[in-house]
Amino acid sequence: MTAIAPGTLPKSSQRGSAARARLLRGLLPALSLALVLMAIAWLNPRAISYFGFNLMLNLAIPIALATIAQMFVIAGNELDLSIGTFVGFVGCVTATWLRDAPLLGIFVLLGSIGVYALLGALIHLRNLPSIVVTLGMSFVWQGLAILILPKPGGKAPDWLLSIMSFKPPYIPFPILAALLIAAVVHFGLMRTSYGVILRGSGGNAAALRRAGWSLLKTKIVLFALTGLFGVLSGMALIGITTSADANIGNGYTLLSIAGVILGGGEFVGGRVSPIGAVLGALTLALAASPLLTFMHIPPDWQVAANGAILIIVLAARVLISRRER
């Protein structure tokens, strides 16, 4: 993450300013979130409350989990264009089999994580472009979802409903959950030695292979983790919406990619940040509807406002990273 190119170190003052710029860049996802929160507080002060956050961040948990899922493949220089339909598939399984036949449901969900692991192996062994493979898989998941649940419906298992409607004292549940997700993934990917290897597979695969690590294994692990977090995202989504629809997750593919990039991740080089990704997902979740509702933007232009917010946040990021150079 913080590799410094040789030859850029000579003066301590320069190093200091570079470090400051890098710190600023690291803080950017948090700054973007703060910006959106301030806008909301200014437009509607009452929204900044326990209940306000519960409402506004309602869908933030599944979005954050899907973003983390996407982050794992991006860490390995791949892209998953099927995560949205996969979340929809998991949602359909959760709202039908997981409730009616828990064993079958658990088996199918674990099996789908296994499919992800196999995809990782296939992509590595045959040296395939992940974009195309996951594009193909997006049709498969969507088709399976339609087969399981041809019409919107089904019902979430009761235990899942009670987890997702948990109301802890003082801190709204979505914020608590986001903190937990960020902390767990940050520890796993940034602080453990195998996490370094996983990120290294995106940073410098050749060096890792020469050092004797199995790239096949890292690819499988990264894809399996994507599958795991995709399953968690789908389950969380159904816990909130209580029923499912085969198209429920379709928007998550692009949302998750945007969240990773907003959180400071990059498409190549294994440069990702779990905390940033979660913050990016929260920013997107907030910017998506609550902010727009408070700004009285007509429905026709809500999608445009989404795009504009994304562009503004990224423009701010450029202004700050330019100082890094």
């Binding site: 296939l122 045959r126 594009l135 498969v140 088709g143 979802a145 990039i261 990059e266 498409f267 504009a308």
Partner: protein
Amino acid sequence: MTSVRTLLEKPWVWSFAGALVVWVATVIFTGGYGAGGMVTAALSLAVFTVIVGVGQMFVITLGPGNVDLSLPANIGLASAVAMKVMGGSDSMIVVGLLAALACGAAIGAINYLLIWALRIPPIIATLSASFIIQSVDISYGRGLQIKPPPGFADFTNWQVLGIPVLAMLTVLFTIGAALALQRMIYGRSVLAIGQNIRAAWLAGVHVGRIRFLTYTLCGALGGIDGALLAGYFRGANVDIGNEYLLASIAVVVIGGTSVAGGKANVPGVWGAGLFLVLLLTMLNTFGVSAGVRLVLTGLIIVGVITAAGGEKAVR
């Protein structure tokens, strides 16, 4: 024998072989009935995928991360613009087509401006742009179906001896695109940038100008595609381009163009376009349900790409 081997080494052979297999399978299933009609239908539908596919191919060839996600929104808006400008009168057809072309080109130029000015990855830039374009389209077209002039609708559906005229024109266009890619400075520059952007820059390639041209070209092709689609399906609407996001990327890659950039393939776009359309026709002929059709489409795409294999690692 050697000529067969060199033919088999061409990356685009696989997409045509796939299309042929799917066609033969369907013809066997129907007992020979409708074999010719199927080719006609496949040609007329593949045209739309091929046109945007060529644009997407040039963009993808620019290197990793380059992809235009704004095509569906672009197609939707351009179809509305074309139909509104034509206003149902035959005399305005050319003006309408030019308007759609200009609208698409403007979108492409804006895409590149975002990429260049904000230095954001093209995926995110074109995604954000597509959100805005979508809203403009909803607001401009009011979500209503706008009918094309009768002359234009007839032209897009015109066939000579069972071959759609639009397909013939598109073949000419793709030959032009192949020449531009392999024989013109522009195409060679695109390939050079895709192989190594820094080396291309050091070699004196106008990197910024070529990238700008490529995004504008892709946008313009999306625009013209929108107008033609509205003519063919006799009406413009917001969702008309939705399926072309995945389809445009899929035909490029199945056709043998490298996702890593620097290696493009025009004939493959045709092969893959025909393959995808024939695949859909086959599954419809077999009478499978929507869910099964999606699953099979996905599995076949994964199967084809696995069989064709990726590139050998260069190390």
